[in-house]
């Protein structure tokens, strides 16, 4: 895969100070912290990157399953987020958790696509195993 702009993700973003500052803020306040369980965010980020270890949602239950299903709805089929799905979400999460989790998934989705257009993998492999799904 050819990388079309040289440098790390942080170096590429640093070419435009506003971009660097925006993503640093999102990274610190949404992707790496927040009120939703960090493990659930990481699971959803791996699903967006099509990590084969998490793509079979049938293997998961409870809040993990819901986080994966929501990642699927956000990335591929918003129609999956029907009334019955929202009832299950509200039964399992507080509203602040719902806002935090879905915004994190949205930011991560966009970032992964942006990385792929540049010729980078959707996630930084060295980030795997870190506590909170850092992607750059």
């Amino acid at each position: 895969m050819t990388q079309h702009i040289a440098g790390t993700v942080d170096e590429i973003r640093a070419r435009v100070p506003g971009v660097r500052e925006t993503f640093a803020y999102v990274d610190e306040h949404v992707l790496r912290s927040g009120v939703a369980d960090p493990h659930l965010k990481e699971l959803a980020f791996r699903y967006l990157a099509e990590d084969p270890e998490v793509m079979d949602v049938e293997r998961f239950a409870g809040r993990e399953r819901l986080a994966l299903e929501w990642a699927h709805a956000i990335a591929w089929d918003a129609n999956c987020a029907d009334d019955s799905f929202w009832e299950r979400l509200h039964a399992a999460f507080s509203e602040p958790e719902l806002v935090d989790l879905c915004c994190a998934i949205g930011f991560e989705l966009g970032q992964q696509h942006w990385r792929r257009t540049i010729g980078l993998p959707p996630r930084d492999e060295t980030a795997r195993g870190e506590a909170h799904g850092r992607t750059a």
Partner: protein
């Protein structure tokens, strides 16, 4: 392309981009699209469309565009 076919951004696409934009402009434009795409995808699961969120008409637009929207 960023939204529907990221891997389709091949050498030819990048050559065309660089005919019109600097690398800094490409980084900024791509970042704008990535943020907008991600958050639009989120609000679709809320059954809300672009520019339909109460109180944030013009969100995501440049300041001049937002004022005239």
């Amino acid at each position: 392309m960023l939204v529907w076919d990221p891997e389709g951004a091949d050498e030819a696409v990048w050559a065309r981009l660089r005919e019109h934009f600097t690398d800094e402009q490409i980084v900024e434009l791509g970042s704008f699209v990535c943020l907008t795409y991600g958050q639009q995808s989120v609000i679709k699961t809320w059954a809300v469309g672009h520019n339909e969120l109460p109180g944030v008409a013009g969100a995501g637009l440049a300041a001049e565009e937002a004022r005239s929207s």
